[in-house]
Each structure stands twice: as C-alpha cells, then as structure tokens.
C-alpha cells in the first residue's frame, strides 16, 4: 500500500467531513426515540467519544458516518426531524436496537437519512418525552463543543501526559505503586487527582444540564488553579467561545497560584 494519496485509501471513507465530501457527516441517532439528535462536522473519533460521554443518559447511541451521496440539508437546527432508514445496521454482533448501554459506530454504505413529518407518537411536542429529548439534543451539541475544546487545550498545554502513557503504552511495565500524575497541571493537591481533561469528561458524563456542567467546570478550575492549569483554563474559555459561559470574573482576575512547598518544578 503506497499511502501516498490518502484520499483514495479506504480509511478516508470514514472521514466523510474531510476533503469537502460533505458537511455534518457524523450524525447521532437514538434507537429508542428513532430520531437523530445532533450532527458533527469534525472528526469521527471525537464524535464517538462524545457518544460515550452521553451514554450515561441514553443507551445505544449510534454515531453514523453518512454516505457522501446522502442528503446534506441536515444540520443542528433541524436534526431532530430526521431518522435513518436502516434500523438493522449490523456491526459486530448486534443491530442497533439490540446493542448495549455503550454507543456504537457505523459507516453507511448508502444514503439512509429520512426526514419525518412529525415526532414519534410517544415523543410528540408537549409530552415529557419530547422535552427530555430536546434537552438532550441541546446538551449533546454542547458536549460536542465542550469536549473538542477540552481535547484541544489538553493537546496544546498538557506536556506531560504521563497517565496516558503509563496506562496505554506501558501497561504492566510501570511498578504499580509508582506515582503517575494525570497531566502537567500539577493540580493533584488542591483538587482531585484526575487533572482538568479527565475532570471535565467526568463532569460532562455526570451532569444533567449545560448550566450544571459549566458551574462544575468553573469550580474545577477554581480548585485546580496552578501555573500549569492557567493556560489550559484560558484556552478552554477562549476556544469554547460560549456566549452564556465566559470565563468567570473571579477566575479571570485571579493569578494562578501554586504550593511550592509541594511542587518542586521550579527548583531548577
């Protein structure tokens, strides 16, 4: 395999958003409601991670990579009007309706999107189900935005991803009682030992509303206010760019602090 022209490789067909093939190629589908609830124009890997974060609230979410010939008029304003025609897409050992709590990922071989004239009977406007589904749809769009932002600040500013390497690259080769910092934020004394990226993922997984998540995230930054979490936090709020949730004033005015009795990184 030459791998010289990646656009012609089979792997490229899992990236329908790339090379201007189509927008909104990654669509989030709920088998239980039988409607889609968000679309995504970025990479399929993060889309699938978003579905995992949402799995605390909805089982068997399907992240569908739409075919390039499928309709392109779907977007995050009208996505709940759409369903997919093939409800028995097989991947692994189960169809969508017989999957597990954790999400599934499928690449479509043909157009599957269908527009619906109304919501399913159990989820008609005015019902509890309808409002729950719409709130979930809004939360999903927020999680897509927030998780991308989180991964970006972590890639840029986490220069010591030791936990990831110890667990995923060196499993079994690091003594079990060895101290493994989650990241370079050095925030393990003032808050939990998770580090900002893992903290945010857990907050998004456990929160019920955008407001709850953002308040908890702000508290997390307050409790992890170190010199190395400072640029992470700044980038988080800038890239998130959410009009309702700018960086809280008290955080913006607070210069980061660290306990140099505890942290020795400045003792060169």
């Amino acid at each position: 395999m030459s791998w010289g022209n990646q656009i012609k490789e089979k792997v490229s067909f899992f990236h329908m958003n790339a090379w201007k093939r189509r927008p909104n190629a990654n669509i989030f589908y709920s088998p239980g409601v039988d409607r889609c609830f968000a679309v995504d124009t970025f990479d399929p890997y993060t889309a699938f991670e978003v579905a995992k974060i949402l799995s605390s609230k909805m089982p068997a979410i399907a992240v569908i990579v739409l075919h390039y010939e499928d309709r392109t008029d779907v977007n995050n304003n009208n996505v709940t009007n759409f369903t997919i025609s093939d409800k028995q897409v097989i991947g692994g050992s189960a169809g969508l309706l017989f999957s597990r709590q954790t999400p599934v990922f499928r690449k479509m071989q043909k157009p599957v999107l269908e527009i619906c004239e109304s919501m399913p009977l159990d989820y008609m406007p005015g019902s509890d189900g309808y409002s729950t589904f719409m709130e979930f749809s809004e939360y999903t769009k927020f999680v897509i935005r927030c998780w991308h932002t989180t991964k970006l600040f972590d890639m840029v500013h986490n220069f010591l991803p030791m936990e990831e390497f110890a667990n995923e690259y060196l499993s079994g080769e690091v003594p079990q009682d060895m101290c493994i910092p989650p990241d370079s934020s050095n925030s393990d004394k003032t808050a939990s030992a998770l580090g900002p990226k893992n903290e945010i993922r857990r907050i998004l997984y456990n929160s019920d509303t955008i407001d709850e998540a953002m308040n908890k995230i702000a508290d997390m930054w307050r409790n992890n206010n170190t010199p190395h979490s400072f640029p992470m936090r700044k980038m988080f709020y800038v890239v998130l760019n959410h009009p309702n949730y700018p960086e809280p004033r008290d955080l913006g005015e607070t210069q980061s602090e660290t306990d140099l009795t505890h942290y020795s990184g400045y003792l060169l």
Binding site: L160, Y169, M178
Partner: protein, 431 residues
C-alpha cells in the same frame, strides 16, 4: 549569623509570594550592584552562581568555594576519553561495594546523563555487585526511554519512586544517592542550545538586519576553536537581557535596566577570560558558564531542595555527583571543539554520551534522535515539607560555611542580604 558570615551557596529564588515581596522591596532599597543581582534572577531563574576556580566572579556576600566542588587543576596533557572516565568511575563503585558493602541509589531520569551511569554500572559491575544498586526514578523516566527501561531496568533492579521519596529518605535507608544532575556541566548548557537553535525567535526582532546576517553567517562556527565567542557579542548581549513579560513566578521589573544584558555579558566574559583552562569558541563560552559558575548549583540543589531532614553537611558531601569524578572533569576541559560535545543540531548534543550508551543498548533511535529534556523540571516531586520545622524549599536562600541553611524569610537573613546587596558594586562593567 552575623554580617560577616561566609556562605558556600546562595540562591535568589522567586516563589510568587512572600519571597517575591522581599526581593521586590529590597530591589527598591539597594544600588546598581544589588539591583543587578536581583535582575540576574529575572533572566535566569533562580540565580545561583559562583566560581569553582580562581577566575573572577564577584558575589555580594562573603563566600568560599564549597570544598567538594573546587575545580581540579587543569592538565593540558590529559588524554583520557569519556569512555574511560565512565568505566573507571563505575569501577570505583565496584571497589566501594566490595570493600564497604556500600549501597547506591541511582537517580535515573531516562536522559542521557543518568543513562550513562546505569550503562557504566551494567557494563562494569558483576551481577552480585549490581545487587547493591537501586534505581530511583519516575514514570517520566520510563516514558523518556521505554526501550532501555524494558531491556535493562524493569525487573532487574529495585525501583524507588523519585516522585515520592527524596534524598533524605534515601540517606535514611542507607543509600548513597547518585545524581547525574551535573552531567550537563561537562558538555554545555540549555542556555547555549536555546541561543544556537532559537535565537531568531528569542531576539530576532531586537537585532538589525546586519547583525542578523552576521549571526547567520557565523553560527556554524559555534564550536570552532579559532572563532572567539566575542564574534557573537552583540547578539549575546541582547540574548542576556531579561524580558518584559516574565513567566510566573518571576515578577516584571517596572523600571527595567536596559543595560543588564551588557552587564551580564561582561560578567560572563570576564570570568571566561580569567578561566583556568582555554575558553575560546561560542560553545566554550556557554560550556564554561555551566562547567564553572553553575556546577555547584547542579551539584548541591538535590541536597538543598530535595532533602529536609538530613544534616546539610552530611547530605551535600554524601550525595555522589557522578560527573565530579576528576577524569570527567579533565576530559571536559580538554575536549572542546572536537565534535564530542556538540555538532550542528540539537540531536547531536552530547555526541560522545550517545555513543557510550549505544555501545550497550544498540538503540539507534535514542542515539540519533534523543533531545535534551529538562528532567528536573519534569520530575515534579510531590514534596511534603513540614514548614513549621523546615524552611519551604523556595525560601532556602543559602548555606553557610558551617552548613547552616538560611531562610530568606528570617529577619536576620534579610538584614544580611540587604546589607551586602547595598554594598555591592558593578566593577566588571560600565554603569
């Protein structure tokens, strides 16, 4: 202590809190000499420099060279190699194990310098002798060289987590801590590497087009024995000037000394001119800074900042600085500008070290791609210091010749500092 107390070691540390307040207030109270000393800590944080030989390096306080670190007399006829020095140092450990059953804890970061230690010991010691060797390390070290870890360390040595246990614990357990912290001193300094490889980003906008062209046209001679470092003087002065927007915890100087870069260059140059061995090329210049005026810091800082309980006299003199071995010191003074210390790219820094390790591990990835990483900065020890008993690490200002640790928050120490900074003059450069 009194105003005449002599010191072996001092440190102008920023801590982002009380120490910053003290140094900022003191800055406003003292003259140009005292201001220079504090500004020095803005440019190179922290500022802990002193000479190891008779070369000129004035300090504000009465000081003596810490005996352990006094530079050996330069022998221009020395012909030993880096390989030979490494092997002979390892054999000295073998002798100490055989004669005294001494136990060693190697501070292993996965970097070049500490890997030389483990390599030398693996090459030269018997299996029985290696039982007296433990590896004090961290997960960062594993990530820094996973192949070496898998092949030579994991499962073969006792492992001690350096992020939990400090020098005092190692000493209490009966180990001789062995550090390669002084390894850079043999070869050069990050201060130099940053200038060679990133000068355009750091000072490009401060140089004229003519100065930039001059630097570009001459930088390939950085390790040319016939090209004197003063060829680069203009750029070095700009490079040594501290910035307007320092990174925490270094505070900004609201009234910056625009002549600081020149003063620092003149101070370094005077020290280089009076050195006890030849200092000619640009790389010689940067090498001499760390080999001479920074080496005591590299040697002492482990005992000083990663040790609370152990008596400083015993700790400093018990900690084994691997590269203080006289053969290494002589090798370093006799092997500048011959390609063994640096080539033309960051990936060839410490060439002879790479070759020594390759001789054992045959890992061409490590030999040809390894970069200088600041292990000290990465290994953020999760220290627990009882500050009701011991000064916080960043508040440890110095060590007297009686091995007393001085706390910068102690009023007597503050008076001592202010007195000597007030009387300190810039004698090596024009005001």
């Amino acid at each position: 202590m009194n105003l005449d107390t002599k010191v072996y070691y001092t440190s102008v540390n920023w801590d982002g809190a009380e120490a910053n307040t003290f140094w900022n207030n003191t800055y406003n109270e003292v003259g140009a000499g005292g201001k220079f000393v504090i500004d020095f800590a803005r440019r190179i944080n922290p500022s802990r420099f002193s000479t190891r030989d008779s070369s000129i390096w004035t300090l504000p306080w009465p000081n003596e060279i810490l005996p352990k670190y006094k530079l050996v007399d330069y022998n221009p006829n020395f012909t030993g190699t880096f390989f030979e020095a490494s092997d002979s140092k390892a054999m000295d450990f073998a002798r100490r194990i055989d004669e005294n059953n001494e136990k060693f804890a190697i501070m292993y970061s996965g970097g070049l310098d500490s890997t030389v230690i483990t390599t030398a010991l693996i090459k030269n010691l018997t299996k029985e002798q290696l039982k007296n060797v433990a590896i004090c390390t961290s997960v960062q070290a594993v990530v820094e060289n996973p192949n070496y870890w898998r092949k030579f360390i994991f499962g073969k040595f006792e492992i001690i987590d350096s992020m939990k246990y400090k020098y005092d614990t190692l000493l209490e357990r009966g180990y001789t801590p062995v550090t390669a912290d002084d390894g850079d001193c043999l070869h050069g300094t990050v201060l130099g590497l940053n200038f060679y490889h990133a000068w355009e980003q750091k000072i490009g906008d401060k140089l004229t087009a003519e100065q930039k062209a001059h630097l570009r046209n001459n930088l390939h001679k950085l390790s040319d024995k016939d090209t004197h470092y003063s060829v680069f003087k203009d750029a070095l002065i700009e490079y040594f000037q501290y910035g307007d927007n320092p990174w925490w915890p270094v505070p900004k100087n609201p009234n910056p000394d625009k002549t600081f870069g020149r003063k620092l260059y003149d101070k370094y140059a005077l020290n280089a001119e009076t050195a006890s061995c030849p200092v000619v090329s640009l790389h010689d210049f940067f090498w001499w800074l760390i080999f001479n005026v920074k080496m005591i810091n590299c040697g002492v800082r482990g005992a000083m900042y990663y040790n609370d309980r152990y008596d400083m006299n015993i700790a400093i003199n018990k900690v084994e600085n691997w590269y203080l071995w006289p053969e290494y010191q002589q090798w370093s003074m006799n092997n500048n500008n011959n390609g063994q210390k640096i080539g033309y790219s960051a990936g060839t820094y410490k060439k002879v070290v790479r070759d020594y390790i390759f001789d054992l591990d045959k890992n061409a990835w490590y030999r040809d791609f390894k970069l200088k990483l600041e292990s000290m900065g990465q290994n953020s020890v999760r220290q627990t210091v009882d500050t009701t008993v011991f000064p916080a690490p960043m508040h440890r200002f110095g060590i007297t010749t009686d091995y007393e640790v001085l706390d910068v928050l102690d009023v007597n120490v503050q008076n001592y500092i202010k007195h000597h900074l007030s009387n300190f003059k810039v004698t090596w450069s024009e005001e």
